[in-house]
Symmetry: C2
Subunit: 340 residues, 2 copies
Amino acid sequence: MNKNNKATIHDIARALNIDSSTVSRALNDSPRVTQKTKDKIIAKANELGYQRNHLASNLRKSKTYTLGVVVPRISRHFFSSAIAGIEETAYQEGYNVVICQSLEALEREQKIAETLLANRVDGVLISISMETSSYEHLQALRQRNIPIVFFDRFCDIPDTCNVLIDDFQAGFNATEHLILNGSKNIVHFSGTQNLDIYRNRYNGYKVALEKHNIPFREDFVLSSKLMKEDGVENAKKILALPYKIDGIFSANDVAAIGALQYLKEQGKRIPEDIAIVGFSNEPISSIIEPPLSTINQSGFEIGKTATSLLLSKVNNKTSKSISETIILKTNLIERKSSVR
Amino acid sequence: MNKNNKATIHDIARALNIDSSTVSRALNDSPRVTQKTKDKIIAKANELGYQRNHLASNLRKSKTYTLGVVVPRISRHFFSSAIAGIEETAYQEGYNVVICQSLEALEREQKIAETLLANRVDGVLISISMETSSYEHLQALRQRNIPIVFFDRFCDIPDTCNVLIDDFQAGFNATEHLILNGSKNIVHFSGTQNLDIYRNRYNGYKVALEKHNIPFREDFVLSSKLMKEDGVENAKKILALPYKIDGIFSANDVAAIGALQYLKEQGKRIPEDIAIVGFSNEPISSIIEPPLSTINQSGFEIGKTATSLLLSKVNNKTSKSISETIILKTNLIERKSSVR
DNA sequence: ATTAAAAATACAATCGATTGTATTTTTAAT
DNA sequence: ATTAAAAATACAATCGATTGTATTTTTAAT
């Protein structure tokens, strides 16, 4: 045994008067070692409390068995759920996960990409920041042949994969739901327009209006970073509009809740005067009063799916360069904020 | 260069007709290499895009530069904030972090401990599960000389550290606040009694009553797992009590909110009829109506403090065996749910 | 200019596991 | 019993960096 009291394959080999290469093969269940010898080796390994040294093994195989995960903010419920899904899938396959948060800042995201490169991760799962409009840092990863899977937020880089939800359909469903519940003047809270998710939700909104012959109005779309304060600001703008707004489709729950609370303070009844639908099914959405209708997107599922896809790329060098996009279904959760 | 197109110290050595040991020393800024040579080597390293292979380096140094983090549930806001603090501090010192969730189950926690052992983490940060009442799996880590820092949830194992908040004081403050706002019949929602945090909050509650000459009643303490449904159940029990309850101190926000919503449904006015104080300052607590008074505990700060402490143990083999407990301050956030 | 001391650099082993090739042992056919 | 083929095991190099020791070069003192 070495100084750290940890057994190595050489300790096992010595104890059995056998070569360490045979021990290695036995422990990896190679067909080149007879069962009798394997049994002997495994017994001795257990006796000595042997545990494979992954550093040595990975060095030899020049794999780190580590995946990099980049999210805008770990404390956002959707992302922590996604991380839970990512970890579960990764651990099952013997991979570790390094988690980083960009805090929605491009500069931080670029630094993180460098760090992941230096750490030689075997693959990267990323939900790009709202600021991300240049892609060199991501292309640098691809140049080193590190597979990338984008999740939730679409990114169009050659030879990478995307795992998304059907934002267009979700936006359509949310808006149509408002229409079917009697709303006519429906505003839309949108996010920063360089993210596809927001453009798609926006388009869903537009098409739902069209389908029901409701004229689309540019000034009914309010873009912001969708923070709570943005929701309050948007609500103020709504009340100042020369139309009687009776419905809101917000591209996230946080802004929807900001608006909901402000409108209640101003004496508006929800949903009677104004019906509201959010997006994401954050935990708060079920607790707010009235409970907020919203689009449910399972972060856990998205995380699991994205990780499976990434691991298939990591393990299959052949298909590494094939782009793929998986679109997961969402469902509308109807709560009191929109049902009349 | 090797097949992966990644430069090694040997590539640099060859290019400069110099020994790789000198290259290694230069890149580690050893005083044994002259500045002139260092400059040359660093220039060539940049030219070749050299990045140290941590696997090789760590193998040689027999350190993994990885910390294990175990939390009950990653999606709980307090824990995801703590993780953010842990990661920030760890990354600054060049450590990676492996995150695991016990889901409040002892069995899962035991498996995780094994995995961390197999991964040879350099240290462990853990907030034990509610079920954790046996400690062999944690002692096994100590036997391998892996330092452990417990955070948030106290655990009494020799040669380990704790980073906690002053739950007793917080419980005292919350209760006294209710008393000062006119509550006389105050119930306490407590958690599972094998966790010190809940015992301490309970004791703070008791002592605050004593100080203000309010008799303590055993049947005013309701223990549960503090889920939302537990809060609802507790609220039902309160209404069935032969006393007019006018205050609730809940050991967490989730149960407090369950009760708050149920009591409102039953026509109780908050805070006029019943004042409520929660614990943890979860994001929902400020959004619920009325906003919930609560004890603010910064997960981010706790995570940072715990990690600094752990890294000092990891780097100082000498003091590794000294126990230490750091207690962080909390503050009461007074919101509408309790202020009359 | 010579020489001892100090500084800089090279040599070689090592961390622990893996893997292609060589050698030994076993099996099976005559 | 001999021998060729097949199976099992041993040998030796390797992944890339680190580090104690040996050697060479430089510096400074006479």
